[in-house]
């Protein structure tokens, strides 16, 4: 595959994703013309792009589908359930066609033919359908038409070799709608007129979907000795606007020619007008506003990674500078260094936000999954999402998609009951899967809740005994039994279906979430439902930290988890009963890190109690002293320490020494478990 084809595959993947999103939305609101237009447009771009880059299978396949939606758009065809499901299958099929050799696979080839014939069947039956709505929206029907301004002044002797410039203009007219203005200023008086010479130049406004190169081709033989200017003036049809037509007409009669500045300003006026109309439309139809208002560019993730690395290095260098200024008391540098620190911080935050992606980006897939599965299992399920705008690092999103798919599959397959069973159990016939994402402190929490039958604790217990995971007469809490589900090889599904029950269930989910340093928690009540909570750290490569000292070593705690800092005499810790200290009238459990970390040496007389947030509580961590705030660039500890949980990384300080970054949640977990 050459570079262009790769680019196309990348773009087409996006287009297909957008298509899926649009089709899903369309299914909910089948008379929405905006959405129908969107579907049509995406198909059209796919067809065009496919043809251009040699993906003829895609282009052929999309062709008929596009025709259908064109009919739908103009009201000739009605959207039926049949059409919806064919469209969905086509979306999947298009994905597989992105491999240029896909049709060599007999399975895909067969699929291709089946889909093509069902598409044709719909097309043939089109005459009998009742139109659903009149197309009233002219605004977005331009498709990918653009307006091109062409100035063509042939050489005087162009006709010597038999070329007729008028034929060229005629050819231009075949490419689209045109407005042609001859420029006759050079035509001499009749007495000096030579009939074998061409004195006229032409200015043409062409509205066409051809690209500029094709237009160039018209002039390919005369280009060299003529004056030729081909510029795109707008991405839409300006000639359709009557005001514009009038203006150019009057300009022409006034001056006999245009110059490009005038045209540009005219087009800009038009754009403004179009935009203001666009806003009106968007207010009515909010679903696709984002694409229209926010402009975005595509950047390769390598570049983002590189940018992040550079920002990290900058932060480290800036720390060295601050240290130097502090040590040498250079007055002139002081202000400068502070400014740089400020800018670096902003740069860091901006660079970070670039690599954050809203969770929304994976929700489409889940909507689709639930739609497909519920029809397959004949269940009636509503999928409700909340907090889709919550943003996560792109690497986390990648790591999360598979586990979440699995959890949702489980909910559909095992959780939600068939309609009749639900009615018998006194529930609403429609089952519900509720997906919620939100920030909580330094973590992002994702909750997936269903109102299905829940997990049968006894069944789990029975199974665990069968598999010799627990002893038959041992006592366990319900929570402990439920946690057995995360053990590899455990699956209670009665029947093995193609989506779950392969024995690679929740253990894989847990492992995957562990890989991105998250935790999974499961709650279930029989007949009420199951809730799975995934908690992820906002693992970013730079954090705002609090620099503290214990013994010879400096440590960094995530600043957003630090609540307050108190100074106490060392005896207050050594005399404390059961590691509890009273702070402002509140009993706070604390961990004496010098002891927990086995750091030798005598503690200072006055020590610092740092209160950190842990779940809903506040826990104290005792350190020797607190240095201050510090922007820490997280660096991995490397393979030698890959199993080390309480330290999430290291950072290099301004003086070149290393500070260790503490994962306070893990520390508290580990020590509270131990005690």
């Amino acid at each position: 595959m050459d570079n262009f084809q790769k680019k196309f595959v990348e773009e087409a993947t996006d287009l297909i994703n957008n298509l899926e999103e649009a089709v899903l939305a369309l299914e909910k609101d089948i008379s929405n013309n905006e959405l129908i237009g969107e579907v049509f447009r995406i198909m059209h771009s796919l067809k065009g792009g496919g043809g251009m880059f040699g993906f003829d299978d895609i282009s052929n396949f999309t062709h008929n589908l596009e025709t259908i939606y064109d009919e739908v758009r103009t009201g000739g065809l009605k959207i039926t359930d049949d059409l919806m499901s064919i469209t969905f299958s086509s979306v999947d099929h298009l994905r597989s066609l992105l491999d240029p050799d896909a049709l060599k696979d007999p399975q895909i080839n067969k699929n291709n033919e089946i889909l093509l014939s069902s598409v044709e069947a719909i097309l043939k039956g089109s005459g009998t359908e009742i139109p659903i709505a009149e197309a009233e929206e002219e605004l977005d029907q331009d498709g990918d038409k653009q307006t091109i301004y062409i100035y063509f002044a042939p050489n005087e002797s162009i006709m010597d070799n038999g070329t007729n410039p008028l034929y060229l203009i005629d050819e231009l007219c075949t490419l689209g709608e045109t407005k042609v203005f001859p420029r006759t200023a050079k035509v001499p008086l009749l007495s000096r007129f030579n009939y074998s010479k061409c004195y006229t130049a032409w200015e043409v406004f062409l509205v066409s979907s051809e690209n500029i190169n094709d237009i160039h081709d018209v002039f390919i033989f005369v280009e060299d000795d003529s004056e030729l200017e081909i510029t795109k003036v707008a991405d839409f049809d300006v000639l359709a606007n009557e005001g514009f037509n009038e203006k150019i007409q009057s300009l022409y009669s006034e001056k006999n020619h245009f110059d490009s500045a005038v045209i540009t300003s005219l087009v800009n006026d038009l754009l403004e007008e179009k935009k203001s109309r666009m806003v009106n439309v968007n207010e009515k139809l909010k679903i696709f506003t984002k694409e229209n208002v926010i402009s975005s560019i595509r950047v390769s993730s390598d570049k983002i990674d590189h940018l992040m690395n550079l920002v990290s290095e900058l932060v480290t260098t800036q720390a060295s500078l601050s240290l130097y200024v502090e040590e040498n008391q250079v007055y002139a540098l002081n202000q400068l260094s502070e400014n740089i620190e400020n800018i670096t911080r902003q740069l860091r935050d901006t660079a970070f936000s670039i690599s954050l992606i809203p969770i929304e980006s994976m929700l489409t897939r889940f909507h689709r999954l639930i739609r497909d599965l519920s029809s397959e299992f004949n269940k009636n399920i509503d999928f409700i999402t909340e907090g889709a705008e919550t943003e996560l690092d792109k690497t986390l999103i990648q790591g999360l998609t598979d586990p979440l798919m699995h959890i949702i599959r489980n909910s559909v397959d095992h959780g939600i009951e068939p309609e009749q069973e639900r009615i018998d159990a006194g529930k609403t016939p429609q089952g519900m899967i509720y997906f919620k994402a939100f920030y909580s402190g330094a973590s992002v929490v994702i909750k997936i809740q269903d109102d299905g039958r829940g997990i049968d604790i006894n069944k789990v217990r029975q199974k665990a005994i069968e598999k010799e995971l627990i002893l038959p007469d041992a006592k366990y809490t319900n929570k402990e039994i439920l946690d057995l589900i995360f053990i590899p090889g455990f699956s209670t599904a009665k029947n093995i279906t193609d989506i779950s029950g392969r024995g690679v269930g929740m253990d894989v989910v847990k492992r995957k979430v562990d890989e991105i340093r998250g935790t999974v928690d499961l709650e279930s009540k029989e007949n009420i439902g199951t809730t799975i909570t995934i908690k992820l750290p906002l693992t970013l490569s730079i954090i705002d930290g609090l620099l503290v000292v214990i013994g010879d070593t400096k440590y960094v705690m995530p600043l957003n988890l630090v609540d307050k800092i108190y100074a106490y005499e060392k005896e207050q810790f050594s005399n404390a009963f059961n590691n509890i200290i009273v702070v402002d009238g509140e009993q706070i459990p604390f961990y004496y890190l010098r002891k927990e970390f086995d750091i030798p040496g005598e503690p200072l007389d006055i020590e610092q109690l740092v209160l950190v947030k842990y779940e809903e509580k506040r826990i104290g961590l005792v350190v020797d002293s607190v240095v201050g705030e510090y922007q820490a660039v997280l660096k991995p500890l490397g393979k030698l320490y890959k199993n080390h949980e309480i330290i999430s990384g290291a950072t290099i300080l301004g003086d070149g020494t290393i500070a260790l970054v503490l994962d306070t949640n893990k520390i508290i977990n580990e020590f509270s478990f131990k005690n």
Binding site: F597, D598, G638, K639, L640, G649, T657, I658, A659, L660
Partner: protein
Amino acid sequence: MINDDILQTTNSYLTFQLGDERFAVHVSKLLNILELIPITKVPKSPDYLKGVINLRGSVLGVMDIKMKFNFPITEYTKETCILVLEVLIGDDFTEVGAIVDSVHDVIEIDEKQILPPLSVGIKFKSDFITGVIKYKDKFIMVLDIDKMFNAEQTKIANDDTATEAITVK
């Protein structure tokens, strides 16, 4: 820049001291030799993992080979160094630091001069030793450091005899 291929095919080995024995690693594995600088200890980790150091802006884990393989422990001296090695852990090449007692010279050895490790009568596990070089009346053992770092909790010396043998000598 030295081409990787050339590096792979040279016959240069760095020799170094661990206790009373002399060892060698192929230079293609060696990235750097550092003097012993202060090491930041990571709490709650095994003793043989000495901690981490700042190696030109990245964090390098340092291991005391003698501790890991149960050699008798000695104080660090002025001669103690950190070898920065590139080893294959799992499927990835990783940089690690290894503390050795002292570094000798780089020697050129023709591959034919490397004798197969003896399976009987030596005090080191032949698993980690690819061969033995006889050099100026001394035996130098060529280490397979990839294997060494991948083998969890192993001892390079044959448990019973080796420790004694070294101390006795």
